[in-house]
Symmetry: C2
Subunit: 112 residues, 2 copies
DNA sequence: ACTTACGGTAAGTAATAACTTACAGTGTGA
DNA sequence: TCACACTGTAAGTTATTACTTACCGTAAGT
């Protein structure tokens, strides 16, 4: 059995196409062919993405006739959110503490 | 000017080592060598990870003597959170309409 | 039973990226 | 100025992975 942690979830959502698949599912349950229709990849590719998303605990799938209907799994979503929230608070706090200590008004550094 | 979207952020946090670097920064600003000390990768690897995190808008870096001190960028964090929240609500609502599942309590597994 | 629709899996390929060592650049102290 | 400490970058290697086509199993309609 897979880990179903935020670890895999982040890796899963890291891929653009896979994130696209996930976003479609957020609008409601959909079949595989339905998801693939409109995406620039083949249906097998979508199946593989769904497999990864499922193992990451982000989606669940159940049979409906010959179709496979997938939907977002709120449990997996909650795990990422939990990890992120712990982060959000901690990082924000330690940042605000810095701001108050010495003035950090200059955010001039940008990447190339 | 870079996109600084949640897109790059997810890809950035997808890598375990890079996420490790990011987590260290959440405890407070640190120098590159400080981050690398204790990680199973070389210092140049950490530098490369920091570059990716910076381009993803997740961290910022400023010079302090010969050291480079990095810290978490709350702006980048906020962008992911915004994307995630929009998702969280929408997906959860359309799902809760169907069934009432249990919450996000189950989190115990580890791997590798 | 036959045919069709739908989707998961196998196998193979090509692009990405995470890592290494070697080197260059910059700031600090004697 | 010389030596040292710290870090970013270059170049190269290796493992991962996202994608393709081909195939197989299963469910529904005729």
């Amino acid at each position: 059995m897979r880990a179903v942690n935020y670890r895999n979830a982040f890796a899963a959502l890291g891929d653009p196409t896979r994130r696209r698949v996930f976003e479609r599912l957020a609008h409601g349950p959909r079949s595989v062919g339905d998801i693939a229709h409109g995406l620039p990849v083949s249906r097998p590719a979508v199946s593989q993405h769904l497999k990864v998303l499922k193992e990451a605990g982000l989606v669940t799938g159940h049979a409906d006739g010959t179709r496979r209907v997938y939907r977002v799994d709120p449990k997996g979503l909650g795990q990422i959110r939990a990890w992120f929230d712990q982060f959000w608070e901690g990082a924000l706090l330690s940042f605000q503490a810095e701001v108050e200590r010495d003035d950090v008004g200059a955010e001039s550094e940008e990447n190339s």
